[in-house]
């Protein structure tokens, strides 16, 4: 059974390598008529491919997705784990270099393009959800109107200021003269988006203060230790804490009692051990989950849906 799996993996590896080798010249930079022809052909081919895939039975679609996931993962696994240069493994290459390494660049390009499509898909979904809210006059549909206004304004002026930053948008209005596209975008970005997001984030400080007052209780010795560590770290990061122990020397054994030294010790020794343990746990778990994704063994939401 194991031999079958190994043989299957080897055949898949050779297949993936051959396919990627075949496609590598397609991803070379092109300009002028060749670029536009290539673009048009790509769109047509992909549209045809998607249409064919869409019309396939559910079982076939699922197998295609499984195969693509496995092939995609296999390239990266082989490229990562096989040595960069080895005359025995890559005996057929004159340079004896990793045969999968040249594929990383074109696949990176393809991934960036797919990633761009997902951004578009996200924007489309947002527009659809908010559009339905407005059409059905659901509670809070005013927020959806605000979304569309903000979305359209930001998009229009971001594109406008890229194409023609000096173009005048408003010539004369309430004493304002020559408001260019770049000015409007700058206003939307610097005076609207930035303060809004900064405000949203800064609210956290107030919630933290209330939570500290209401929930940080010394109910046990462990909680007491945690509070002590928190106090040292908080004071050790600011001049006030540094000032509290400034009379202690900067060198010698007593320097370890300076607030900033204690804070760095808590962060760099005590907390680091715990964080390393947590990190290892997360990564081992992540490895298991990645394997399940790669081999399409994952079950539950999205993985068992009818395609």
């Amino acid at each position: 059974m194991i031999a079958v799996y190994v043989a299957g993996a080897l055949i898949a590896a050779v297949g993936v390598w051959g396919l990627a080798r075949l496609l590598t010249p397609v991803f070379q930079p092109a300009t002028g008529a060749l670029y536009y022809t290539g673009l048009a052909v790509s769109v047509l081919v992909w549209a045809g491919l998607m249409l064919t895939l869409h019309r396939m039975p559910a079982g076939v679609k699922k197998r295609v997705v499984i195969l693509m996931t496995f092939a995609g993962g296999l390239i990266y696994v082989l490229e990562f784990y096989l040595p960069a240069q080895n005359r025995y493994i890559f005996f057929w290459r004159h340079s004896h270099t990793n045969a999968f390494s040249p594929m990383i660049e074109p696949i990176g390009d393809a991934y960036a393009v797919i990633f761009g499509f997902t951004l578009f898909l996200g924007a489309y979904n947002l527009a659809r959800v908010h559009g339905r809210n407005i059409a059905a006059r659901r509670p809070g549909y005013h927020n959806s109107i605000a979304f569309f206004l903000a979305f359209i304004a930001m998009m229009v002026f971001a594109l406008w200021q890229t194409w023609a930053p000096k173009q005048v948008v408003i010539a004369h209005l309430w004493g304002i003269r020559h408001l260019t596209a770049a000015d409007v975008w700058g206003y939307l970005f610097n005076s609207t988006y930035v303060p809004l997001q900064a405000t949203l984030f800064s609210v956290l400080a107030f919630y933290m203060a209330t939570a500290a007052f209401r929930a940080f209780r010394v109910r046990s010795a462990e909680a007491g230790l945690m509070m002590l560590a928190a106090f040292i770290c908080m004071l050790g990061q600011v001049p006030l804490g540094m000032w509290l122990t400034h009379h202690l020397p900067l060198q010698g054994p007593l320097s370890n009692l300076r607030m900033e030294a204690m804070a760095n010790w808590v962060l760099g020794v005590i907390s680091m051990g715990g964080l390393r343990a947590v990190g290892f746990g997360i990564l081992v778990g992540g490895l298991a989950v990645s394997l399940r994704f790669w081999l399409s063994l994952e079950r539950g939401a999205f993985f068992e849906q009818e395609l």
Binding site: E105, G116, A209, V218, Q237, V238, P239, G268, L275
Partner: protein, 280 residues
């Protein structure tokens, strides 16, 4: 007074105290003294050690929410690059507005140091694709970046002369509130041993130390404190140093609130027939 009303007022009082204390120290000028920690000193030394023929990649992976911390960090780093005549590239791959903020800071500082865009620094803008893009980027920088934020092919810019692969990058400075630095470590430090320095927000600082201790990250700036330490090393009092008294006051206020909360809690537990402690 019902518990809900009490909760309502307790919250408002805490917020008012915090606003008042930080507000006073933002307005009143206090000369704070910073002692430079080892991770910040190593960050500074890593920048100093970059040879002239290599470029520094300033990865602005932050947005407006953490501007208070990542902004002064970026400013101090760009100031250092300008002072030392180091070429740098502003870049972003996690948060789209990051390179815009970096560019704004560089443009503001450039006239003071007589620096010019294209010659002394370049902005590659935001690139989508995450870790997979970073892997491809390392092998062919001009090919993957293509054009700068103004649409100019980067190969035409003097700042990009001789920059082809990751081997021509002297240092990567990852300025971010997110956990994106493991990507740099995994795919850049792991493969090519390119030096990486990490400027994180205060809350992310504990997560930076395992990488720093393992020398996978050459230096760390911890939030606003890190930026203030960097400014101290540059012998300059910038935004970070100006904000440190307010941060000191906020930390002291939070400590005081925790102490008060616990005193009330202990007192309410000792009182015979006491119900739930106040503030809860």
């Amino acid at each position: 007074m019902t518990q809900t009303t009490r909760q309502f007022w307790v919250r408002r009082i805490v917020w008012a105290v915090l606003i008042a204390i930080t507000g006073v120290f933002v307005i009143v000028k206090v000369n704070a003294t910073m002692y430079v920690s080892r991770p910040a000193l190593d960050f500074y030394r890593a920048v100093e050690a970059v040879p002239k023929d290599k470029i520094i990649v300033i990865s602005c992976e932050w947005e407006a929410g953490t501007r208070g911390e990542n902004g002064p960090q970026t400013e101090a780093l760009i100031r250092h690059c300008f002072e030392q005549d180091k070429r740098f590239a502003i870049f972003g791959w996690t948060y789209p507005p990051g390179p815009t903020f970096g560019q704004q800071i560089a443009e503001r500082l450039a006239p003071r140091y007589h620096k010019r865009y294209g010659r002394d620094w370049v902005n590659w803008g935001y690139k989508a694709g995450g870790a997979i893009f970073i892997r491809a980027w390392a092998k062919n920088i001009p090919g993957k970046i293509g054009r700068d934020i103004y649409g100019t092919p980067i190969t035409r810019l003097p700042a990009m002369q001789g920059i082809c692969t990751i081997r021509d990058v002297g240092l990567i400075a990852s300025i971010t509130p997110s956990a994106s630095v493991p990507v740099w470590i995994r795919y850049i430090y792991g493969f090519y041993r390119t030096k990486i320095v990490y400027a994180c927000t205060g809350v992310m600082a504990p997560e930076a130390f395992p990488y720093y201790d393992a020398h996978q990250v050459a230096g760390v700036l911890k939030g606003l404190t890190g930026a203030a330490e960097y400014e101290t090393l540059l012998r300059y009092r910038g935004d970070a140093m100006r904000r440190m008294p307010a941060q000191s006051a906020a930390h002291a206020a939070i400590i005081l609130l925790i102490v008060i909360g616990n005193v009330i809690y202990i007192y309410s537990r000792r009182r015979p027939g006491a119900g739930s402690p106040p503030g809860r």
